[in-house]
């Protein structure tokens, strides 16, 4: 793959980076990236119509036991008219109602019903209609980030974590695939899962910055979409919609994207440690819902 293609793949992958690996690396036969369209009707960015997508990092599941869980969960809204956006980062242990399955952790939704149920769960929680689900897995992530030439991340706090392998000074760090994965996995920091989720959001914005800097233009975009079409699992998305989506991403200035973590608290459900949805969450979702831009947060 050419570098620009690799960057494109990587940015989409980073949009849904896996944060915690429970079952070990996924098999090499798994698709590196999946793009699912989960609503009906043709997609076309319109000035007054925000676009919402769900980015998931899948853990690969435990072979023979269960399916993929989404350990990185981000709801991204883009306003085509203003070039602004919002990303809400959800802790994976957020305890929610999963349609048809009772209450469970948010990261179970994908394992129980794939991208459709993951999107429905988020829609029920937030009241926001999701158009696309982007999902990737741990195994190809490292290679893809490496192929893209790495990504520059402004590390907010110094890290020295033996569990994830995250060892970074505070400040700008050029990360290869392994480093990016370690950075996004580290939860042995102040704020735990909440801060980890915030860091995943930071990684997404760093990747978007890189994509914007290497904007390949319309013809270049067509070229990398052709390659993406050969390597990426695409469900329900037409090539034109995929093109429009990719061009929309390039128009977004990462500096105009607010990245916030869903307000919540720590609790238990039975023997499980969970994250409860905080009192401020409903207001946050409502603020994002109308135009994908936060006015009061």
């Amino acid at each position: 793959m050419t570098r620009v293609v690799a960057v494109a793949v990587a940015v989409l992958a980073v949009l849904s980076v896996t944060a915690a690996v429970r079952g070990g690396p996924a098999g090499s036969s798994q698709t590196a990236l999946e793009i699912h369209k989960v609503d009906t009707g043709a997609f076309s960015p319109r000035p007054g119509q925000p676009v919402f997508m769900l980015a998931l990092g899948l853990d690969g599941g435990r072979p023979g036991i269960d399916g993929d869980r989404s350990d990185a969960i981000h709801l991204i809204g883009i306003n085509p008219a203003t070039g602004e956006g919002t990303m809400i980062n959800f802790p994976r242990d957020t305890y929610v109602a999963i349609p048809g399955h009772g209450r469970a952790k948010l990261n179970d939704a994908y394992a129980l019903g794939g991208p459709g149920l993951a999107a429905n769960t988020i829609e029920q929680l937030t009241g926001i209609d999701v158009s696309f689900v982007l999902a990737t897995r741990f195994a190809p992530f490292v290679d893809m980030v490496n192929s893209a030439g790495g990504v520059d991340v402004d590390v907010p706090i110094a890290m020295n974590d033996s569990f994830s392998g995250a060892n970074f000074p505070q400040g700008r760090v050029h990360m290869g695939g392994n480093e990016a994965l370690a950075f996004s996995r580290n939860r042995h920091i102040t704020g735990g899962d909440f801060t980890r989720s915030e860091h995943q959001g930071l990684l997404i914005l760093s990747a978007l910055t890189k994509l914007r800097a290497e904007n390949p233009g319309a013809t270049g975009a067509a070229r990398y979409l052709a390659v993406l079409g050969r390597y990426v699992g695409i469900t329900g998305v037409t090539p034109v919609e995929l093109y429009r989506l990719s061009r929309l991403a390039v128009t977004i200035d990462p500096a105009k994207v607010r990245s916030v973590v869903m307000p919540g608290g720590i609790g238990t459900a039975g023997a499980q440690s969970i994250v409860t949805v905080g009192g401020g969450a409903a207001g946050l979702f409502a603020d994002m819902r109308d135009d994908a831009v936060l006015q009061s947060h």
């Binding site: 319309a218 067509a222 079409g229 090539p239």
Partner: protein, 198 residues
């Protein structure tokens, strides 16, 4: 995937401003140097590449090339040459642009100014120095044509007072199958007027 039938649109020659632009595929060339434009206001089109979402690349379908040329020539006539002569807003743009693109250019602003030459009445002949379009086709996994990018490079000279104004446009356009034809869906075009003394 639903691909609308690919029909060649025979856009009416010339716009309401009487620009004299004509449609047709007489200037199509494959690879290499562009063929000279057969008519005064028509793009010299070259087909540069086919980018397939499948392992093998089909050839660039001639009917797609012709339909894309018809839309580009329609844009040239309705949005550039006609208004250069009349100074009046263009007509017939719905035959050239998709609905999302029409929405984008419906209000005055930089996007409309990039693709519409209006409000600048210039007298005299409009001379086409050159108008080149290099096409790249994206095909779906099944081989269907789904999207064409056109790299645009064009200059039209208009007499103004004691000199000339070069109306220059460059950039890229994206055309997609739409309502039985191919229409401009998005663009990244830079426009400028260069004045030169005779």
């Amino acid at each position: 995937m639903l691909i609308p039938p690919l029909l060649v649109v025979a856009l009416a020659g010339g716009c309401s401003g009487g620009d004299g632009a004509e449609s047709g595929s007489g200037a199509v060339a494959r690879g290499g140097s562009p063929a000279p434009a057969a008519r005064p206001y028509s793009f010299a089109v070259t087909t540069a590449a086919v980018e397939p979402m499948a392992p093998t690349a089909p050839s660039f379908p001639p009917d797609v090339t012709a339909a894309v040329q018809a839309s580009l020539d329609g844009w040239l006539g309705h949005a550039i040459v006609g208004p250069l002569r009349s100074g009046k807003p263009s007509s017939g743009l719905d035959a050239v642009f998709t609905e999302p693109a029409l929405l984008k250019i419906s209000a005055p602003g930089p996007e409309r100014a990039a693709v519409l030459e209006e409000g600048t009445p210039l007298t005299g002949d409009v001379k086409q120095e050159h108008a080149n379009a290099k096409l790249t086709l994206l095909t779906a996994p099944g081989g269907e044509p789904v999207l064409v990018t056109a790299q645009i490079d064009m200059v039209h000279a208009v007499k103004s007072g004691s000199g000339f104004v070069d109306v220059v446009r460059g950039g890229e356009m994206v055309l997609v199958p739409d309502r039985g034809s191919w229409r401009i869906d998005s663009f990244d075009i830079v426009a400028k007027h260069d004045t030169r003394v005779k």
